[in-house]
Amino acid sequence: MAKDNNNVETMIRSEQENKETDKINKVVLETDKLTKKFGGLIAVNNFDLKVNQGEISSLIGPNGAGKTTVFNVVTGIYKADGGKVLFKGKDLAGKKPHQIIKKGIARTFQNIRLFSNMTCLENVMSGQHCRSREGTWSSVLQTPKQRKEELKIKKNAENRLKQVGLWRWRNELAKNIAYGNQRMLEIGRALASNPDLLILDEPSSGLNDKESEDLIIFLKSLLKENLTILLIEHDMNVVMGISHWVTVMDEGKKIAEGLPEEVYSNSQVIEAYLGKDEEEEE
């Protein structure tokens, strides 16, 4: 299986090299000296991150490195204490999460956060909230315009549900479907907002080998939609299998970045994950 992954990896690499010769990659998301403190703890410290258009970028690091905090700052759940987040060249400072998703950044959560007492279809329909605009009165009166929009929402939701392979569970409550399906549903909900950048927080955690392999194939298929993906991941198979670019984080700082196998062989990265050699000898 590892061999397969290697093959795929080299394929992606060659694709990427081709692309690089064609044009200089456009940066979609950029953080500039991002800092976030919790009391005395500096969770993210002068962190720079670049995500290129149309690529899958990964953010990896040991537990507690501050990866999720970066995601939460980018998506507006936390306010940055310093530095900037630029999306398509525009500063996202002071924007609330619901405004940021409207700009085109959708996300999933590490511990799945679905609307558990709503059906799968309703979950995905809710994902389109920021792309629809009918108000209270038109909803109360069910104006023709509102019905039309509602139909559009349902159609989009159907498309997305089929895309993530959950159409048969459409009328099941989100809490009742299998764990792997819940992960896919959350991705489907994020996709329903037609994002430019999809941020996934450990999408393969809790999935078995088969499921994470399917996930890899699925994420790659998303690139065709002109989507950019940023993910946090622990599973090295997934990271090495799909990433075009890997950024490594430890104790709130960036310690390395580069192509997957460059990072994989980087001594500092190995140190961060496995501890220092000297300490072991002592």
């Binding site: 619901h98 059906t119 909230h129 509102q146 159609k155 159907e158 907002s193």
Partner: protein, 331 residues
């Protein structure tokens, strides 16, 4: 087209309990005596109040134990404007709704970020402040503990006057009916879904693009507006208002309506309202044990049916594929 007709008939057939319900309700006043017509009027008032609290508590999951405060605003706006300036009740119906909604907006804006029990405590305070303010007769307009007397009947000119029990019965149930249609429409719109999302998970809702703060406020304003309408009807039925009608205990009763019936479930709310308003009348003989039975029922309910008597059933949105129906699917 044929197929379409078939589905329409099926739809109509599926609605038979509702149609039966409407028929029974419209012939009801002719088979029962005046006393029971009045009881059913108050059932209607409680149903309207339950539906209004259901928006806040059932759909969005915000604990509001001061809901009677909004009704009081509606009732007093009606009473004061009608007795002092002679403005017709029908015109005051929307005005009392707007007044209660505006009051909710002003009062809830600063507290809307509070969660769960914290919000609950603040709304209790709010309801009590409204009641105590009315009780203390500010600027001599609320009449203190005696309240305001001599409110007119609702009328359209001179030819249509709601002046007896039977007319009031139809008056309130038409309002309830219209409200139910509006609320069902809301439930199946993006607004209703957004409210439910907030109830399920606030952080996820915010990240899904829902402006949590303004949707919570919207729920409060709409809920208060409906309570204001209930206040208007209540004031004209009794022809007087007094602060004691809007006590904390009444707010608790509304809370129970939603909990007993089922949060977010409109048929549930009607059942809950019936439970609160009809059973005390049916079991008049055991009046002194009423609260005992009531408490026991609440405990049993919470153990065996925590979702309420008739919880909202989800999932019947659309079974068939839209794409296949409209012929857009390729494969």
């Amino acid at each position: 087209m044929k197929l379409n007709n078939g589905t329409n008939n099926k739809k109509l057939f599926a609605y038979w309990p509702i149609i039966l319900f409407i028929i029974i309700f419209s012939i009801f006043p002719f088979v029962i005596n005046a006393y029971w017509v009045d009881v059913f009027f108050f059932f209607g008032i409680y149903a309207l109040l339950g539906l209004s609290l259901n928006i806040v508590l059932g759909e969005v999951g915000l604990f509001d134990l001061g809901h009677m405060g909004f009704m009081a605003i509606g009732a007093y706006v009606t009473a004061i404007l009608n007795t002092n300036f002679g403005i017709p009740i029908i015109i005051l119906l929307p005005i009392s709704a707007i007044a209660a909604g505006a009051f909710a907006y002003l009062v809830c804006s600063p507290i809307i970020h509070l969660r769960g029990d914290y919000l609950c405590i603040v709304t209790i305070g709010m309801g009590e402040i409204v009641r105590l303010t009315l009780n203390n007769n500010p600027f001599g307009v609320t009449g203190g503990p005696n309240g305001v007397f001599g409110i007119d009947f609702p009328s359209l000119g001179n030819f249509f006057v709601v002046d007896n029990s039977v007319k009031f019965y139809y008056y309130i149930w038409i309002i309830v009916g219209v409200t139910i249609i509006g609320l069902v429409n809301l439930q199946h719109s993006r607004i209703g879904r957004a409210w439910n999302c907030i109830r399920e998970d606030e952080v996820a809702a915010e990240s899904t693009g829902i402006d949590v703060r303004s949707y919570k406020l919207l729920a409060f304003v709409l809920g208060a507006g409906l309570a204001g309408i209930a206040g208007n009807v209540y004031a004209t039925k009794l022809m007087m208002v007094s602060p004691e009608s809007f006590s904390f205990m009444e707010s608790c009763m509304l809370f129970c309506i939603v909990l007993i019936g089922g949060m977010g479930s409109i048929p549930g709310i009607l059942i809950g309202a019936a439970a609160i308003s009809l059973f005390p009348e049916v079991f008049r003989a055991f009046a002194q044990y009423r609260m005992l039975i009531f408490g026991a029922v609440m405990v049993i309910m919470m153990i065996f049916r925590p979702g309420g008597i008739w919880p909202r059933k989800r999932g019947a949105i659309k079974l068939e594929s839209l794409l296949i129906k409209t012929g857009e699917e390729n494969g």
